[in-house]
């Protein structure tokens, strides 16, 4: 699997999609470059893009990471395309921005059932709504926990944070 093949697959799903190649030099005696692609995708484009990646080669989802940027919540889908190809995996990161007022994203579990745990985790931590996800039960947080710890200034989380170390400057 090469970066160009992945780019072709991305463009076939969403015409005109721009992928930024960030080659990663590795090695000491013989330097090689491991391709990393970073792509901005709209939430409407997410499912077609993942389907195209799946069609391009064995697809593995490492994790979905994310952060609260204030008005927008940024989700980063980290995939390994061509999973299991010696020296030939391409790390593809899809960046999906959703408004904090309407954090709805289509679930990709239909294409990749292995994504369920990480999607459920994003429900808990960032309060994302995944449409079509098989289960929305908590994985990590206690059942009665209604907060979203990674949201900025989440009152429910703040209530639970125990101030243990009072001598730490900013918390005194």
């Amino acid at each position: 699997m090469t970066a160009d093949q992945v780019k072709k697959a991305l463009v076939s799903a969403v015409p005109g999609l721009q992928a930024e190649l960030r080659p990663r030099p590795v090695g000491v005696r013989t330097r090689v470059e491991v391709p990393e692609l970073w792509v901005d995708v709209s939430r409407e484009g997410l499912v077609p893009v993942v389907a195209a990646l799946k069609a391009a080669g064995p697809l593995h989802i490492s994790i979905i990471s994310g952060r609260d940027k204030g008005e927008e919540i940024e989700l980063l889908y980290h995939f390994a395309v061509g999973y299991g190809t010696p020296g030939g995996e391409v790390m593809v990161t899809l960046r999906v921005g959703v408004p904090a007022s309407d954090p709805t994203v289509p679930s990709i579990c239909g294409i990749l059932p292995g994504a369920e745990t990480t999607e459920r985790e994003k429900i808990e931590f960032l309060g994302i709504h995944f449409t079509g996800i098989p289960s929305t039960a908590h994985v990590f947080l206690p059942d009665g926990f209604t907060g979203h710890p990674w949201r900025k200034d989440d009152p429910e989380t703040a209530r639970h944070v125990k101030r243990m170390v009072e001598w730490e400057g900013k918390d005194a």
Binding site: P142, G147, P149, H160, V161, K162, R163
Partner: protein
């Protein structure tokens, strides 16, 4: 502590309350041939109802706090609680989290603290021996 010989075998129950596994594998290491605590009659048991002492590891996460209490109540008296590891003793690096409610002594009474991240098996054995001394004292008082 003036303990020259054990008057009894000590059975311990291990409960992990959200530890990182470091202390837990050192507890197992204490049981295996190099340290071999079974030669002293110290043995891990499968239920708190058979135990004389509790070995508690971990900073106590929110869902485990209630279970720790329940396990403590299920352990028959006289009993001793040994906290193994820095995070169980003082919360250690796990401060300021929404899901950590420890350290252990905020949840149940503690008799022996074994600090270290993780403590060596020798230190864990020493902690358990200190607990034996405490239990023998308790037994003496009752007589």
């Amino acid at each position: 502590m003036g303990l020259s010989s054990f008057k009894r075998a000590l059975w311990v129950f291990h409960i992990a309350t959200g530890s990182c596994n470091g202390c837990d594998i050192e507890i197992v290491a204490a049981l295996t041939p190099r340290y071999d605590v079974e030669r002293f009659g110290i043995k891990l048991v499968g239920t708190p109802r058979h135990a004389d002492a509790l070995l508690v590891t971990g900073p106590v996460t929110r869902p485990m706090a209630e279970r720790l209490k329940r396990v403590y109540e299920q352990t028959p008296d006289p009993k001793a609680v040994v906290v193994v590891g820095g995070c169980g003793s003082t919360s250690g690096v796990f401060y300021e989290s929404y899901n950590v409610v420890g350290p252990v002594d905020e949840i149940v009474p503690v008799d022996v603290y074994v600090p270290g991240c993780p403590p060596r098996p020798e230190a864990i054995i020493h902690g358990v021996v200190t607990a034996v001394a405490k239990l023998e004292e308790l037994a003496g008082e009752k007589r």
